[in-house]
Symmetry: C2
Subunit: 145 residues, 2 copies
């Protein structure tokens, strides 16, 4: 299987595969005399493992750790639990701060319900006022919470 076919099967870009190989996340395949990479089904498994972890927002460094656990199953899985717990925590924090951000943007957006010119744009005025330290509508919810 050539790199293009593997990419198609896994649903990623060819460059991504070469990148993972360079980063030693994917074992290097055999090469044809012309230097073409030839993959086998194990490679598809490895690649899917990486892509699946990435879709869960796990970093390449963490995936490298998981791959080590996978390679040596006598290791304690307590670390895997911790890794996932840390990850859940950070995702949860991201969700919370983005929800706050969304609220702030909604408030900001309501400042300018109709289009006119920038001189009268409520959004721009709000941003400029905030810069002048007059307290901003969009971040008020931070103080009150």
């Amino acid at each position: 299987m050539l790199i293009g076919e593997l990419a198609k099967m896994a649903g990623c870009e060819v460059e991504t595969i070469r990148y993972y190989e360079k980063e030693k996340l994917l074992t290097a395949p055999d090469r044809s005399p012309a230097g073409y990479r030839h993959y086998r089904s194990e490679h598809l498994g490895e690649l899917n493992f990486i892509l699946h972890c990435r879709s869960l927002g796990i970093s390449l460094a963490e995936i490298r750790q998981l791959a080590d656990f996978r390679a040596d199953p006598t290791l304690a899985c307590e670390e895997i639990n911790q890794l996932i717990d840390r990850h859940i925590k950070s995702v949860h924090q991201q969700v919370e701060s983005l929800r706050l951000l969304e609220q702030q943007l909604q408030v900001l957006r309501q400042r300018c319900p109709q289009a006119s010119d920038a001189a009268h744009c409520g959004i721009l005025q709000t941003l400029v006022q905030a810069a002048e330290g007059e307290g901003c509508a969009c971040h008020d919810s931070e103080r009150s919470s």
Copy 2:
């Protein structure tokens, strides 16, 4: 006002200010004979504007646009509205996908309630199974939704 004082007043790093100047987001201040930057209150306003926008997750490219609107207030503010609307939309999408991700991680975590060794680690097994295309517990909610 020297760069260190400005940084303290605005609550950011000195390097960040120099970076914004290099990126032409901040107008270059006058220099002392020794080459030290000397700032005035306008600069604090400009910097606060940038930092406030950044705290709302607005990119530097978008801040550059907003600064143009600020500089030429005869421009239509419709574009500002659109910029904020686009931003709200993308933040909302991020929130949704992170919430889904959190759920998936919780499901994954429940696969391994107790620590043993990696050979019996439910999390690792789940990830490996997913890689083998057997359908994964953590992404099941995607299909059912």
